[in-house]
Structure formats: structure tokens, C-alpha cells
Point group: D2
């Protein structure tokens, strides 16, 4: 099975996993706490459908509401080093991405070059100035879910509605969504945690289609001596990234290991993470565990829980240096109406929180 082909993503003969019937009941049970922005718990939906925001009828950013001035200041105050980890990949012609449905590949075009500008002389500057002033300009085209990026809450909905009940029929124009577009996503400044699942299992890379379970996350956290705090950015490492800069689309894209539904629910509903990121393209694994939904983790996070999340996050250097606790700083481009946006997040190591140790 292949993400680069047009074949269906669902495993037609796979036994449907029991999808934690209790998790729904626990969902979004954010306990009142000192962080100020914790919402009242919404009623759990009986069957998956777009969630209603506890942050108000016009909320379009979901769990990113968990950030406050206090939470950001606290995260920044614990920085213990000026070493910056760059969590972004490069954009280049030939970069791996999701091409199965014909979306544009990354394109780069020179529109002005020093020599070409002199040949064209488009401003009638004449030979002398064109020889002197060497002008280079260029343009790019990209799918919005390419390279290191965030998924906005309008990227996937359920039954025609996205998070907070905004409907496609009412809010999708020819220039994208009128609601929950990438332009409303705030910069993210928060405590972050790396969960290096591959390393915890002693592997360079999780096996193809490996579906990460809550136990895998717990094991890795234990081995790292790390704990998740409510409001965290949780970064999950599968080890797939090494194929990205090789520009090996098949090795990066096909049968990716990633989160299963239970693991996503554990992180959001129980651990109360604010948002997630992973080093693969899709966060979730493929083939998926549901027969009637080709992206169940996407719809769970985006539509049911209101969690914008990040993909193709470069975690190799954090993993190498065993930086498991960090401040995460990332601001995605404000592409009006868009379902996602590129970003270049960074991380800096922080002092362990009191009580964070094993």
C-alpha cells in the first residue's frame, strides 16, 4: 500500500480496533487549573462529529487558546541555553510530499537573474547600471501541507463541518475558508516535550506502518525521564526524517509509522497536550485502523478536539542531543483562508521543571 499511489488508504481487511469507548467520555476534561485558560469540559460526542468549542462560538484556533501571557512567559523564563534547534526542513524542487492526488510539487523559479536582467533591461537602465547592479529575484509554488507546516482547523472536518460547527457550504469561497484559515493561528510559544519513540525502542526508525500506542509513548517518556504537562507541544519522533533530505519520496511517504487513535486520545484527552508535531508527513500511521474514515487521527484532532498540529518537523538534532524538554517557538505564515501553512519552528533547551524527573 502506498501513499504515492491512488489506492485507498484504509486497510480493507483489517480488524477494526476497539477505539477506547471511554476516551470520549474523558475527552477535553480540562481540569480547572492555575493557567487561567482552561475551558469547561464539553460533552463528549456519541459518534465522531465536529466538536463545539468551549472557547466561544467564534473560536477558530481550538486548543491554541490554552496559551496565555503567563504560560508563554513561564516557558521562556526556563530557557537555560541560547542554543537554537532548527525544527524545519528545507524547501527544494524534488522534496518529498503528498502527491497522490495531483497537488502541486514545490516549484522554484528565477524571475530575475543578473545576466538575464542585463539582456532584458526591463527598466531601461542601460548597460552600465545593469552591469553594476546584479539583481536576483524568484518565486515559489507550494502545496500548503508541504515541508514543515501546521494544519489549520479547516483542513479536515466531519459531515461537512469543521471544528466549532462552521460548515463548508457556508464558509468556503473561491479563496478558501472564511473561518479557521491559517491567518488566525497565533504564534506558538510554549513548553515542549520530545518523545523519541524510535530511540526508546532501540531503533533508528520505526517499522513501516507501525501504529504508535499509548504504551509506546509512556515507555519512551519513562526512559527519557520526561513528563507531559498540560498545554505542552508534544513532538513525536518516528525516525522517518532521514529519508526526507535524501529526496526519497517513496521511502519518506509510503506506509509511514505514526500515531494511532488511542495514542492521540491519550495525549490530548488525558495528558492535555496543547498541540502535537511529528517528523513524518501525516502524523498518523497508514493504513489507518478505521474502515469508514481514511484519516481518523486528523479528524479526531482537527474536527473533534480542535487541535491544530504540525507535520514534517525536524527532530533529528534534538534527538541526537537528547533534548527532551524545550521551549517551542513557531509562527506559521498567515495565508488567508488556507488549510495549512509552512513554518520554521525553533526549540531551545529549558531547565527541568520541578518534579519533572522520574
Amino acid at each position: 500500500m502506498s501513499l504515492t499511489s491512488d489506492r485507498p488508504w484504509t486497510r480493507s481487511k483489517a480488524a477494526l480496533l476497539a477505539v477506547l469507548p471511554l476516551a470520549g467520555a474523558l475527552a477535553l476534561g480540562f481540569a480547572a487549573n492555575a493557567r487561567g485558560s482552561a475551558p469547561p469540559a464539553p460533552a463528549a460526542p456519541v459518534s465522531p462529529r465536529a466538536g463545539q468549542s468551549p472557547w466561544g462560538a467564534d473560536d477558530q484556533i481550538g486548543t491554541l487558546n490554552m496559551m496565555t501571557e503567563a504560560s508563554r512567559l513561564e516557558a521562556l523564563r526556563r530557557v537555560r541555553s541560547g542554543k537554537v534547534y532548527d525544527l524545519s526542513v528545507e524547501y527544494f524542487v524534488g522534496m518529498p510530499s503528498w502527491y497522490a492526488l495531483g497537488d502541486p510539487r514545490y516549484q522554484y523559479h528565477l524571475t530575475h537573474t543578473p545576466h538575464g536582467h542585463a539582456v532584458d533591461d526591463p527598466m531601461n537602465h542601460g548597460h552600465a547600471m545593469n552591469e553594476k547592479v546584479s539583481y536576483t529575484g524568484d518565486s515559489v509554488t507550494m502545496y500548503t501541507h508541504m515541508g514543515t507546516h501546521i494544519d489549520a482547523l479547516n483542513h479536515f472536518g466531519l459531515d461537512g463541518k469543521i471544528w466549532n460547527g462552521f460548515s463548508a457550504s457556508e464558509h468556503v469561497g473561491d479563496r478558501g475558508w472564511k473561518k479557521a484559515g491559517a491567518e488566525v493561528l497565533p504564534p506558538i510559544v510554549a513548553r515542549g516535550v520530545l518523545i523519541d519513540v524510535a530511540a526508546a525502542k532501540g531503533l533508528e526508525e520505526l517499522p513501516p506502518s507501525y501504529r504508535i500506542q499509548p504504551e509506546d509513548l509512556k515507555l519512551a517518556l519513562d526512559r527519557q525521564g520526561t513528563r507531559i504537562q498540560p498545554g505542552d507541544v508534544v513532538l513525536v519522533r518516528t525516525g522517518r526524517m532521514k529519508h526526507f533530505h535524501d529526496a526519497d519520496n517513496e521511502r519518506y511517504m509510503d506506509e509511514p509509522p505514526g500515531l494511532g487513535l488511542a495514542a492521540a486520545r491519550w495525549l490530548i484527552d488525558e495528558q492535555r497536550a496543547m498541540t502535537l508535531g511529528a517528523d513524518n508527513l501525516s502524523l498518523e500511521t497508514f493504513p489507518v485502523e478505521t474502515e469508514d474514515n481514511w484519516v481518523p487521527v486528523h479528524t479526531y484532532l482537527l474536527a473533534e478536539r480542535g487541535v491544530p498540529f504540525m507535520e514534517v518537523v525536524y527532530l533529528e538534532e534534538l534527538a541526537r542531543d537528547r533534548v527532551y524538554e524545550l521551549v517551542f517557538i513557531g509562527a506559521s505564515l498567515k495565508l488567508r483562508g488556507a488549510s495549512g501553512a509552512p513554518m520554521r519552528p525553533i526549540a531551545l533547551p529549558v531547565e527541568p521543571r520541578r518534579g519533572d524527573g522520574p
Copy 2:
């Protein structure tokens, strides 16, 4: 005279300003200091030409070398509030930019919509799943110097060479520059200073084509009670930004106020700023003050001094709140080979430095 037309940018009858003959001699005279990365002063060029880097023969980031782990940590430690200022504009169809030479306007295209996906059924999921899972995807096209962005050092050179002597004939391929492309620019984490020139003059907006002089900068700094420190990100506000979100291309683009050569030299050569940013498209004013160079501030900064700098920076809220000292955090997209890249920088207020007051 108009940036939206094809007419030459240079003021043909303007008296050529005396361009501070001594400034060259002082250029890049970075005193040895505690910040570790201060380079030896290079000899000043007799006539403008691409500078040779004091940071080594392969240096491609110029003054961004001034950042160190220590400088970043110091900047972050002085954060006194978790209030985040978003320094980026939105990307939207119709946004103002530099179109005079036919560069692509910002384009946004929906490639997947919930309804269209159901009509097409491109993965043969059938009616039920297509009704359930509502997929939106989209793509964008942009010139690399559009919206809030940074200019890489290959954007403008002199006599066919960019900063540090890399030549266009050797290093420009069909996918951009092999040297000094946007992908090598590091994330910027540094102390920043806002210089609100418009406010210092009691204006909402500087007059068309107003050429900011060193005296204007000094006046504004005095009124603000702010001092520039070596290694700072200096943000210059002209007041032009209000026309941007009105999508008024002519009002935003034509005859912009901006830096003159003397002001740029004062900031870089005397004040030892690390990089600059402004709220107009071009940083410098047009028409320019040189007969033989249509972008003298660009070539001075990029080619002569190795200063990557930022344009279309949104400074309105910093100005409104009179936040003149800040930590600047911005990381541009790593577009391989490109001459510029979009970014969404943020700022947080910092405690005044000891001795920063008037």
C-alpha cells in the same frame, strides 16, 4: 514616479548626495567586545563593490554571524512579558507588492474542497466516506519578496558578485544560487529596537519619498529614550503599513519613504546593528539618491556589508504600545537557493538594559 510602473527609479535631476566619504573608512569597525563573534575590521572599498567577509571565505550569512549562544540567551533572559507582538502581515490575493517587472502576484488555489472531493471521489472511497470526511487542501504561489520577508545576501550584488565574492556566473543555476540562498539564513533571536520615525515627527506617516537621515533616527531614539546596542535588530517605522491591509497597492508602493544611504551607514557602520527591518516594501526610499544605482541601500547592505534585512514588517502594535525594546524572534523559510523568504517574526517586550535610558 511610480514603483508600479516601468519608469526608471532614479531621480535623473537630483543632486547626488555626498555619500559620507568617511563612512567607508569606519565601515564594519566592530570593536572587540565581550560578545565573542566580533570580526576584525575589513579595509573599506574605495568604490562600492561586493565586500569580503571577515567571517571566512565561505561565509554566506554576513552580519547574522554576530549572534552567539550567549547573545541569544541574554536577549531571552530579559523578556519581561509573555505578550507576543506579531510582526507579520497576511498573505492574500490582491496584497500589495512589487509588480512593476511582472513578478507573480500572490495566488491561492483550492485543490481539494469537501464538496469537490465528493464529486471527484479521487480515491474511490465512495459516497459515504466522502460525505463523512471533509477534506480541504490548497496551494500558493508567491514572489519571494512579498509580505513580511527577509532578503538573502544573493538578492543584490555589485558587478556580478554578491557578498563575499561569489559570482553569478559560477553560482547561479536554474534552481537559484548555490551560495547565500535563503536556506542558510539562521533563525534570528536577538535584542531588537523599534525606531518610530513617523511618531517622532508627530506624523501618522512620513511624506512620500521622504529620505530618512541619521538625524531623524537620533531624534527618534532620543525621544523614545532608547539606545542601539551592537548586534541589535533595528526596526524602522515609516507609517506606510496602514495602506497594506487596505490592499491599496499604489498607496503602499509608490514613492515610499524609507532609509537613505547615510542612515543605513550610520546604523550599520557606527551603531553596529546586526540587521534592519522596516514597514515598507523596500526599506530604502524611492526615488534614490544615486544616478548609477537604482537600489543603493540594497547593494550597500547586502553586497557591501553582508546585512540580510527585512521588509514589510508589521510594527503598528509595537508602536501603539510604545514597545521600543524587545526580543526579536524570527525564522525565515528555508527556500533552497532563493533570494529571499517569507517569515513571521514575533517580538516580546524586554526589561530596559542597564544604562539604556537617556
Copy 3:
């Protein structure tokens, strides 16, 4: 009023023209004739709505069904000269077109150049082969209604339906229309007639917003000594074209002279022309004569009558040489699902038909 601005197209205070109440009753009254494909006359709609095709429930090409092998052979047999008139404009960066709603301008990008290919050596051919073999490649982006082109029947509908009742809700996917896309339009080989309205009035160019009436067409035909035959391609010259190659977007686009509704009805319903073309962008004039429809001639031709038609047709040389009767040969690109397609039609002079004279 301006086509290049976002202001409404309709003349809000204009008296609504009486729109020929009888024309509907006469509509499409194709008399049975020897050409074989003449359809039975459909009932006239009481108010404008998408017409039902007399050529069958799946018809997607409308009046182009009037062409037969016999009609094409007859047209070609009357060619009297091998002189080819090129009826197409060039595509170039900066070309005038319809930009008011943000559609992409024509873009041209070099993707391979002889020098760049040698710098990149993307196939590892090495220096010698790259110096020897000089490769140039390029790509283009265009709106489908740019340059000389044809409008497919899905370009404009009424009340959500296009010609023959195909509905947008059922047939528009993310890759365009499943019905009446440009790929189904056949090559056009037919007798053609030029009506040089500008010349008949002794003008280089019709005045801005001049609305051509049936009388104008009759006058020009009389002066030319030309008659329209059923099944003809009718080319209408307003004189606007001279501004196109000047790349003067405002002069080409704003307040164009063009067909009014009565003239369009006269050509289609009474003269039984197969298709129309004009030298302006829009065929019809702006501002329009209807309060409730911003493109009444478009919806009349495309949706009510099933007439695909052509715009930005280069008629200057035909006019100069007074070639009023011709064979028209044009085949538009088969862009799957698209609402229009570029084409490069040609014309050759033909012998006058018996009885064509005045």
C-alpha cells in the same frame, strides 16, 4: 467605470433596455435545411434560464453541432488563396487581460537554460556534455480566458445550471466541470465572415462602451457587400486590438465597446451564426444594459443558446486587406474540465459564394 477595478459592472442608473421580447420566441428557429444537422426549434424560455439542447440530453457543445463533414468540406473547397491570416495574439508577461478578481496574470518561467544547466549538472553529464548540448525549457501559467481563446459552455450558467441543464452542484469537482469542459469542443472549420464595425463607421476604434446594435452590423455588412450564412463564424471588429500589443491594460480593458444583447440575438436567432468572435476581451460591451446580470450577453450565448464563442481574436490584418469572407480554422487546447481554452485560429480568403453580393 473600470474592468480593472473591483467596482460593479452594471450601470446602476441606466434605463433597462427593452430586450426584444419577440427574440425569445424566434430563438434557435433553425429551419430545416440541407446541412443535415439543423435541430428542431426548442421552446423559448419565458425568462432567461439555461437552455435545453435540441442535440440531445448529453450535448455539451451546443451550436458547434451545426458543423458537418459536408459543411467543412464545402468551406475548404472555396479557399482561393494560400495566404494564411493569423488570428491570434501573443502571450507575454504583462499582456492585458481580466485581472479585477485576482486571476493569475500570464507567467513565463525558464526552468532550464544552457548556462544554468551547466551550473547545476542535474543529470551528472559532466562539463563536456553540458557545454556541448544547450538545453532550454520553460513553463507558463495562464488564466483560461487570456489571449485568443474560446469560452466553453460551462463558463457562465444561469441559476446554477449551464447549457443543457447540467448543474454546478452535481458536476463541478476540484478539477473543474465534468460536463462541457474545453476538452469536448471540436476543432472549428467553417465559413467565416468579418464584420468590421469600426471601419463601417469610419473610425479606427469604436468609442468606449459603445454598444453595437443590429443596425450597426447590418450597415457594416451592406458596406462590405457581405452576407451571413447559417453556420458561419462571425467575427466582429471593434478596433480595440491596437491597445493589446501596446500592453496597455487600461486602454484595452476599460469600458470596452462590444456587442449588446440585441445584436447578439440578431446574429444567433435570426442570422443563425454558429459562433462569434471579437477583438476585445469580453465580446460584449461594459457597462451592460441589465441591472440583474453583470454579463447578459455571456449568459445569453453560453447558457441560453449554447454558443461557445471567442475573444481577443486578432482581426487587424483581415481588416486591412478587406477580407470579409473566409474559411475559419481553429482548434482550442483540450484542457480537461476547463471553462475556456487558448487557441490560435487562422483564416484563409475564400471565393465569394454565389449570391453573396449585395
Copy 4:
């Protein structure tokens, strides 16, 4: 070996074919004839290099100069049927083409849809008009050598020069070539001949990498009872086309059968064809027969002989109906400066020429 990968095209261990040493001496030996435009024979180059045009120092269309008013009229006069054969493929997302070096795939984007236009109301027309007038618009992006198209003479050169000695260093600006761009190519109206090589061998499709030799062409012509005349458009059928509309990029692109150098020379230098076309992407076969040139037939035709030629020509229906003699009518889009351009040629059957039989 694969055209869809980045591996070199040349067969590194293949014995270099003896490339007809005499062919050069015979090259372009156009005998004086009644067609008026026959040029004097140029001296044969000793080693391959860009040819000098016998049609003048500014000639940019090469052998298309062989067309005259008389030749076109003669071709059209022999049309014996109004049956039109459409020689063009469709453009669609996912269409096979040359992607190994990252060139843009065909993209199609809706920019206006009836529903989206009503949601956006970009012209402030209000609900009633937006419900009434159903607007669809769209844009496309394509590589210029995609789908049925012609190669302009600037597509491949030798030693930095194209046909007639125009050099890349002098004539390539940022918007393409100043010389021999697609905009100068005239419409083609000429006698055409189909050579169905696959059918002559009793095959549906020639084997992978089959290199067509002069003997193959002669055999097929004999079996068809067809003769080439000077000035003809020669269409060569390999049988590859069936994979195109299956959207099977590998089967269409990899190891294509096609012309070898000897066959190209026989057609141009001995048979004096005006231009060629084929049903594969590349006209020539791959791997090629030269060690030092990855596209020897391209450089022979374009650079040495000045023959613009056509690729991805749809010949299936002509072959099915055994139409071997035809009038070819094709006009490529006038893309300024471009190295190629899409076209939709047509063919109509003609009466056999006197003496054409076996």
C-alpha cells in the same frame, strides 16, 4: 534505464553507431524545384554544430520557410473529405510528461465557481445576482513540452548556439529567448504523411527503446503505398500513445521507441521533409546512440538543420482508418520567447497525388 529517474540517458556501454559519415555531405541538399522556397545547400558541418540558415541571417523558423502560399493552397485543394482528425491529446492533472528534472506537472485550478463566487461576492453584486449568474473560471500551469506540442528552434542548441548562430549568452533574458521563440513559428498548413511503423511490423507498439532506422520507414511507406514529397509533414507512429490516456507515466515515458539519427537524417536530408511529428514524448528513442550527446536527434533537427518538430501527436485514429496522406493544419500558441508551445493540430484526408502509388 528510465526517463522518470535522474539517471543519465546515454547508454554508456553501447557501441557508438557509425553515424552515416556521408549524410552530412548530403545534408540540406534541397534541389531547386518548383516550390519556390528551396534554399541553396549550405556546406555540411564537419562536426555537429549549429547550422547557418540558407533563409537569411535573421531566420528563426528554419525549414518552416519551405511553406509558401502556393504550397498551402495546393495542399488544401486536394482535401477530399470534411472528416477532421484531431491530432491532440487532452491536458489533465496527472498526464504523463517529462518530470525527471522537476519541471512543473500540468496543474489546473478553479479560480471562480458558481458557489464560491456567491460565498465571496467579490464584486458586491449581492445574493440575487450571484444566485442568478453562475460564473466559472480557471487557470492552468504547464511545462511547454507537455501534451501535443512543437519544439521551437531554441529548445536545443550546440555549444551555446542555436540554429542560425544565435547565442544563449546574448539572447536569453529572464523571459526566455529573444530569438526563435515560439511566437515566431507560423501556422503549419501542408501535405502530411503518416508512417505507421508499428503497423508495418505487425505490432501494436514498437518494443521499448526500439530505434527506428531508415529501412523501417521505407518498409512502412512501401506497405502503405505512400511516398514522401519535399515539404511534407511526416508523422511517425510508434504505438506508444495508448499509455498516455491511461495516465501511465512510466509506460508512456520509459525507454521509448523512436527515431534514430540515421532515420532523422534520411527524412530531412534525403526526403526533404519540412517537419516531423511522433506519438511519443521525445521523437527520438532512449537510450541514445551517442556518448557525448544526450539528445542527438534533437540537436540534429533543431540546431543543425533548423527543423522545429512535434511530439505527443495523437495518431491513433489516422492509423485505424489508414489515412496515410493528409493535409496537416496546426498552429502552436504564440508564447513569447518560449522553447516550445502546445498546439492542437488537425488532419483531413486528401486525394492521392498523381504518382504517389507504389
